[in-house]
């Protein structure tokens, strides 16, 4: 069968322009693979989250109280709109590790049988705990990250301090819980090492026994009838729980693990729209420009085909087919590469998020959507590029084309500038302004790829600067010890006597509910002493400041949520969980901002007087001698009332070790941005070369060397490259800010920090692109048949 001659021509055109063709294919493939991978990862996460939450019946509302009788569960179940209630106990205890250090274990009690309970768990290894195990052994299940980090498995025994007594517990299994998909202690501990915080799941009965909670619970989980007014229900349940010491209540979306997971999904959503739109948009423009040039170069042939009787439609189809082919191939490669990437990212997510069914599944929806999008853009590029076909008249196309029209530039009106330019620069400037669309695409391409290089690298800068700020400025202690319950500050003397300790400062971490003009905000207030030196405090503009003489130094994020400003008076309700809840009115003395977590500050003495106590503390910040912190930490082993010890150094080391995900995405983004830059420069050089073949051959015939002619060619691209790079740096900064704003959460104050190093690296990228353009020009010049071109018509 004879193939259509037009189809043959299409294949041959692709073959003869394979360099720029595959340049476009690469950019389409990159754009689509980013899109596919992000959508696929986000779909995988969403799907496994939904199925996990459904399987385990994850609660809609959470209520924390000091202590409530188990019977309250029935009362709440009777409330209109409630379709499921579970009561349970949850409390943090200390786990002693064999090396003398300790970890925090969140003991959570589950009623057995579990079928009708909310927030059920999924046993991944071993077996479920029992209500009455043989020999009264305390049986627990652990979350996989903590078990792995501490080398614990079913059959291991751990030692836990509960209610002042050391108790051995047996690990009988590993389990996943919907509220610990991302296991983290609280909003301020997002950076903590998983080996330092774990979840221990046990039977409610055993938990009640060891925590001295017989017949009582301290948490109520509620599932609501869909469509119920959440706020009304919250208010109603709060009233029922009022006599039992309301500590906190929040909906599912504010539950910490869910909030972190949602933040991650939001980041993926932003990345899935933000990045591919640049790549696909640029690929479309590149295709349109290149196709336009192809059509113009084939003017005579098109005229001839028109003379033979081919209509505009068939010729448009021929040239439009060129861009459809590049979109189709790019789309195919993008889908395959996108799934490859999705597998890598999903595997990486699986190490952070404990979602039992998190796996990379092929998603026909995203593949279909991506392919349809690239083909639609291919059509658009085809129409844009091939529109010149309509302008070609057969009779005119047969005649020799007149020299390209050039007009004087505005710059020529300023002889003092214009006359200083050499001829190559004048040629380049005129050519840039004559081919405005083509120049604009090259400029935009360089601008975007440099901008993307800045964005790719800025995440590292920002995280480094966030780490630096958090670990070197905001936290200056070596160890933070927390007590199981508030103690007199004189107890700190015991800490001061420990080996290696240089200085100890008291701290009271008080959970509170702040109310201002009907708005509520639950947060933590740090009670510290004036003149303390272990907590670096900065105002909302990140300028260092001290503790105010009186009043509350309110966290910036909380202030924003409450709509409060300095000078306003807030109502503060303490949610300590021990002793009666107190209410007081406090003036906002100023605003403060922390890079990780939300904390407000109050003078320790004022805090004590609000609690109607004197000299109470819940923890201590400790400075040790150089290299002594491990020794000090081990020395605290015997202190049962110390519930946890956090080492700043270990936290930092853990975070730095765990930047694999970030490094991988930075590397992929840098590779993609560079590929974009290279493809843009490659295509721009190919276009400039093919359009100027005759001019360049004439220069060579006149006696200009290859290097000199390559410089002529480079100058035009160089001007666009320099302009694109110059504009790309601030553009990158803007993109970084936009990106930081888009992914900022209540937990992270992610500021867009761009180090000069990043600008330098991005500029070096621009220089590398220029060098590439020069060598591409030189290579093409070597293949230029000067004698043939100068004598030919066109």
């Amino acid at each position: 069968m004879v193939k259509s001659p037009l189809l043959n021509k299409l294949f041959r055109t692709i073959h003869s322009t394979r360099g720029p063709f595959f340049g476009v294919v690469a950019v389409v493939a990159v754009g689509l693979s980013v899109f596919i991978s992000m959508v696929a990862v986000s779909d995988n996460l969403l799907r496994s989250r939904e199925s996990f939450y459904r399987q385990t019946d994850f609660a809609d509302l959470f209520f924390h109280v000091v202590r409530a009788p188990e019977g309250v569960v029935e009362k709440i179940a009777a409330v209109n709109g409630v379709c499921g209630v579970s009561g349970r106990i949850q409390k943090d205890v200390s786990l002693f590790r064999p090396d003398g250090t300790r970890a925090t274990l969140r003991l959570t009690g589950f009623r057995l049988p579990m079928e009708n309970e909310l927030n059920r768990i999924l046993v991944q290894k071993g077996r479920l705990f029992e209500n009455n195990p043989e020999g009264g052994v305390l049986e627990i299940l652990l979350n996989p990250q903590f078990a792995k980090a501490n080398g614990l498995r079913p059959g291991s025994t751990v030692s836990v301090a509960a209610e002042g007594k050391e108790k051995p517990m047996e690990v009988v299994g590993i389990a996943a819980s919907p509220e610990f998909v991302y296991a983290v202690k609280d909003a301020a501990s997002v950076f903590e090492d998983p080996s330092g915080f774990g979840v221990a799941m046990m039977s409610l009965k055993q938990a009640q026994q060891i925590l001295d909670f017989r017949g009582s619970v301290n948490q109520i989980l509620v599932r609501i009838v869909p469509g119920t007014d959440l706020n009304r229900l919250r208010k109603e349940i709060r009233t029922i729980l009022e006599p039992y010491g309301n500590l906190a209540d929040y909906p599912q979306k504010d539950q910490i693990s869910e909030a972190i997971l949602r933040g991650e999904l939001e980041q993926l959503r932003v990345a899935a729209t933000f990045l591919p739109s640049f790549f696909l948009g640029l690929a479309t423009l590149m295709q349109a420009v290149f196709l336009g040039r192809l059509v113009k170069a084939a003017r005579t042939q098109i005229g001839l085909m028109k003379a033979l009787g081919y209509d505009n439609g068939r010729l448009m189809l021929l040239y439009g087919g060129y861009s459809l082919a590049s979109s189709g191939i790019g789309g195919g490669v993008g889908i395959v590469a996108g799934y490859g990437l999705a597998r890598v990212f999903t595997r990486l997510y699986a190490t952070y998020f404990n979602l039992p069914r998190l796996e990379a599944a092929f998603n026909p929806r995203s593949a279909g959507l991506g392919l349809a999008l690239t083909l639609a853009l291919g059509c658009l590029a085809g129409l844009l590029g091939a529109r010149f076909i309509l302008e070609i008249r057969p009779a005119e196309a047969m005649r020799l084309p007149s020299p390209r029209r050039t007009v004087k530039l505005f710059l020529e009106e300023w002889p003092f500038v214009w006359e200083r330019l050499d001829l190559a620069s004048r040629m380049s400037l005129r050519s840039i302004f004559r081919n405005r669309f083509r120049s604009a695409v090259t400029f935009l391409g360089v601008l975007v790829s440099i901008g993307m290089l800045v964005v790719s690298l800025f995440t590292r800068d920002s995280v480094e600067s966030l780490f630096d700020r958090h670990f070197n400025w905001e936290l200056r202690y070596d160890l933070l010890a927390r007590f199981a319950s508030p103690v007199k500050s004189s107890e700190l003397l015991n800490l001061e006597r420990l080996p290696g300790v240089l200085r100890v400062e008291p701290l009271f971490e008080l959970p509170v509910r702040l109310t201002f003009r009907g708005r509520h905000e639950e947060t933590v207030v740090f009670g510290i002493v004036p003149g303390q030196s272990f907590f670096g405090i900065s105002d909302h503009r990140n300028r260092p400041r001290g503790l105010p003489v009186s009043g509350l130094l309110l966290d910036w994020n909380s202030a924003r949520k409450l709509g409060a400003r300095p000078g306003d008076i807030l109502e503060m309700e303490t949610l300590l969980g021990k002793g009666p809840s107190r209410k007081d009115r406090l003036t906002v003395a100023g605003l403060c901002r922390k890079s990780v977590g939300r904390v407000s500050y109050l003078d320790l003495q004022t805090l004590n007087s609000i609690l109607q106590e004197t000299g109470l503390v819940t923890g201590a910040a400790i400075k040790t001698g150089w290299g002594q912190s491990l020794k000090t930490e081990r020395a605290m082993t015997g202190m049962i009332n110390v519930s946890s010890v956090i080492s700043r150094q270990k936290e930092r080391e853990y975070m730095e070790r765990n930047l694999a995900y970030m490094n991988l995405s930075v590397a992929i983004l840098v590779a993609f941005s560079s590929l974009l830059g290279l493809a843009i420069i490659f295509n721009a050089s190919a276009l400039a070369f093919s359009e100027r073949r005759r001019d360049l051959a004439s220069l060579r015939a006149m006696g200009f060397s290859r290097g000199e002619v390559a410089m002529f060619l480079l100058k035009e691209n160089l001007l666009l490259l320099a302009a694109g790079t110059f504009a790309g740096l601030p553009f990158g900064r803007l993109l970084s800010e936009g990106y930081a704003r888009a992914v900022r959460t209540d937990l992270f104050s992610f500021a867009a920090v761009v180090f000069p190093r990043t600008y330098l690296l991005a500029t070096a990228g621009g220089a590398a692109f220029s060098a590439l353009a020069f060598f591409l020009g030189l290579r093409s010049l070597k293949q230029l048949d000067v004698a043939e071109i100068v004598k030919a018509r066109d």
Partner: protein, 237 residues
Amino acid sequence: MPSGEPLWKLEQVTKTYLMGQVLVTALQETSLEIAEGELMVILGPSGSGKTTLLNLIGGMDVPTEGKIFYSGESLEKADEKRLTAYRRDVVGFVFQFSNLIPDLTALENVALGAALTQRPLSPEKVLEEVGMADRMGHFPAQLSGGEQQRVAIARALVKNPRLLLCDEPTGSLDCSTGKRILELLERANRIYGTTVVIVSHNAAIGRMAKRIARMSSGRITSFSENPSPVSPGEIEW
């Protein structure tokens, strides 16, 4: 044979090209001598090897066999660098299609040629001489075919070359414009003493030269002397 000592000498030059899978012989065992200050016309039908011969003399190409000497120096084994220097310092080309740079004005196109050599002529003056004084600031797109060709001649002349090679310089022009172009070439030969070699398929042009070479099928078939060359203005075709 030229009267003076030949400055360019081609001995038994052959040039073959591989076009696809076919070996094409464009020039066969051709010998030619050109004296300094000479005005020579090479005539022949299309495909006879005129342009190939011109390209070899101009250092645009090297022969497959045979020798080419310029001022006693051998060119056939010269590398790309040497050939570029030769084209830069010795040769000026005028093509059938002016091949001007569209992004440069007439004056800038000529200045581009001037920038290549140590002792160029003044671009303005050369443009004046070719009758383009009032069109210096125009771009090629704003000039007629004849004007473009005049600028191309000025661009070749401004380098003050020893040899001006013209490949069908009137090929794309009407008769009267073509005559004015030939007058310019004749003037360059007479006033500056530039050696001029014109190749053309138009036999009438031969009347302006003292010596005419005729080519056919890749060979010079004859040389003829013209004791009384006429001014280009008197030629009709």
